[in-house]
Symmetry: C2
Subunit: 396 residues, 2 copies
């Protein structure tokens, strides 16, 4: 019998308790007969919870109980979560988490610490919620060199775009609707400014390329400036606006990683990903493009990914852990400024070289353009002195 402790009884932590024990809505049975929930750490009291007998408030109870084999960290952030993760690993317990900020920031150290103590540190739920992506990328695509990762990694941002396009409402109103529906937090900064996408991209990139890409090395642009006119221009040229995280391997082994909104061609399967869904495209040398699609967040999807990792840890898959990430390699990072693509440009007046786009709405004298493929500096040169309302990268 493998005994589990959950740190934090929030949305994900309570979902993990339900999936582990089969005591949740729509769940049919216990995840695994060999796994038992022993502790839940939370500062709050939950006297009416079906798990009331499991609660403790002092981490050292878990740390010092040799019966606990696997610790599930769903506290979030890089404070107590980091402290407890380190102490659990040092006490010889495997750790499973959904905490993308902690993994993206301290992943290499925690993976090394797990290997040193012959336990595992697993974090499938940190990217794409319930979508299996890290293990397929790490194991099933092991015979490939990865050429590119491109993903819609934030369901909140994608939901906002979908509402803007389908309901014709502006960004601020779509954001309010997302908050009202529980799809966006009251402080939506991490979602709409792209930080959440950036952290997930760093985890994917580190697994794909084997060295730690740090969030602060990834130029990140959010979606707060996107207008209904931009969405109309996208439709006018057969594209949809999506916030993408991309990491592209150059021939020389350097990585070009960035987060920004794109005009995505309807021919690209990412264009059809709507609402709160996520999708990640991975291009391998042998497989070509494969895509993983599903709900990127939510209590039960995320909890089920956590519990799959708990099962893997419990079955003592010694090699279940991700391979160690080499240290960060700043010399291997290419600026996305150098990535030549087409661009969408909205001008208040004047003209550009490229394909002209027209929309019904919009200001007097304005125009939309699709430029030829060029780098960011070349684009800036072409736009010098012009009255530019918007610039968005294009993905075919």
């Amino acid at each position: 019998m493998v005994k589990v402790a959950i740190l934090g009884f929030g949305v994900v932590g309570s979902g993990v308790a339900e999936v582990l024990t089969g005591q949740g809505d729509g769940l049919h049975k216990k995840a695994d007969e060999l796994i038992e929930l022993k502790y839940i750490l939370d500062v709050r009291q939950f006297p009416d919870s079906p798990f009331a007998g499991c609660f403790v408030q002092d981490f050292s109870v878990i740390e010092n109980d040799p019966e606990v084999d696997v610790v599930v960290e769903t506290i979030g952030g890089v404070g107590a979560a980091l402290d407890f993760t380190e102490r659990a690993l040092q006490a010889g317990k495997s750790v499973v988490t959904s905490n993308k900020e902690l993994v993206a920031t301290h992943g290499p150290r925690l993976l090394a610490m797990a290997a040193e103590h012959q336990v595992v540190y697993l974090f499938e739920a940190s990217v794409g919620g319930g979508i299996p992506i890290l293990r397929p990328l790490s194991d099933c695509m092991a015979a490939n060199d990865i050429l590119e990762i491109c993903g819609i990694l934030n369901g909140t941002a994608n939901y906002i775009f979908t509402r803007m396009v389908q309901d014709g409402i502006p960004f601020a109103q779509a954001l309010k609707g997302a908050q009202a529906n529980g799809y966006a937090e009251q402080n939506p900064t991490a979602d709409v400014e792209g930080h959440d996408t950036c952290r997930k991209l760093c985890i994917l990139s580190s697994i794909a390329f084997g060295w730690h890409l740090q969030p602060q090395q990834v130029p990140t642009k959010g979606i707060t400036q996107i207008t209904l006119e931009d969405a109309a221009y996208a439709a006018a040229c057969g594209r949809r606006i999506k916030l993408l995280g991309r990491a592209i391997a150059e021939e020389d082994g350097r990585i070009c990683a960035y987060v920004e909104p794109h005009f995505v061609s309807l021919e690209n399967p990412l264009a059809g990903v709507e609402d709160v869904f996520n999708a990640i495209t991975v291009k391998g040398t042998a497989t070509g493009d494969v895509m993983f699609y599903g709900r990127g967040a939510g209590k039960l999807p995320t909890a089920s990914a956590v519990v799959a990792d708990v099962i893997a840890a419990a079955r003592q898959l010694e090699r279940a852990s991700y391979r160690p990430w080499q240290p960060n390699r700043p010399e291997c990072i290419v600026s996305p400024e150098e990535l030549a693509t087409q661009w969408y440009v909205r001008l208040a007046q004047g003209e550009l070289t490229g394909e002209r786009l027209t929309i019904d709405q919009g200001q007097k004298g304005e125009s939309g353009w699709l430029t030829p493929a060029m780098t960011k500096p070349a684009l800036e040169k072409a736009l010098a002195g012009k009255d530019v309302l918007a610039v968005i990268r294009v993905l075919d």
Copy 2:
């Protein structure tokens, strides 16, 4: 050092040799430094191959060489492939295959034999080519009960539909084009009659539900009767024709599995899967729908899936094998006749209850219809005495 023998040097077998050694187009490096290709079994001679030194013609050389840890079976069929697989497992060697017919037919016996000899039998490449699907389904979704699997599992059939719709050419001509492009075999029966889809569905279902579903238990209908008019009616109601394999878990634990063409709503991400691509949607109790998408066939994608399994076997992941499949349970099989769905019906003349569809082409007096949701017997009752040109199930 783990030594590997490949059985059969056809398209997949030669691809496996290339991916293992990194000696193929677009491949950057050896799949794994710890794995060495020792033998290739083929009745033919390949004196000019870079692997010329590896060829043997007698399986007993491989069977009796204790240095061989992993045997890759890419012979196909259920003759020599079955004999060699059994002998390899009995000799204590792990076996990896892309042979869907063998797995779908004899999977339970071979999995049990592998467990008995403490080796593994892996077959990620047998479904979806290079798309990671079996391991994610088996491991990453382990905390879910699976409610439904629905997939476009045959690239040839999907390519034919895409050409019919995009180029406006009839089935026979689209099939010829597929053969000319190497996407269909000279004998296309297994692809166009749905047998290939059926075998893959049986493998997915057996992994998802834990007991062996046999191909002959799955009602299977192919695509040879689909006309351009059917495709036009599909477009007229916002749908696309796709050949789907579906396995649906009923509340009582019985499984409804079948293969047939469907009108698929454009709202469903399966509708956007074109050309030779495959996609598999899996609905779990906790994750909801997740989808896996990519090239379902081809030399290097399939080879890369085989080699990922070789790496897993080589790393001695004792638990890497799929859990055993319980024996077949005929009492748990529900006929798709009982599955109530909408139907598309094309009538030479007359009317039906439902939504009327119109197309520009077509015969004088004909009409298309979308019925309300009903079972197959109810539909047949409604169609009694009518001049019916086509009937296709609808998926929203």
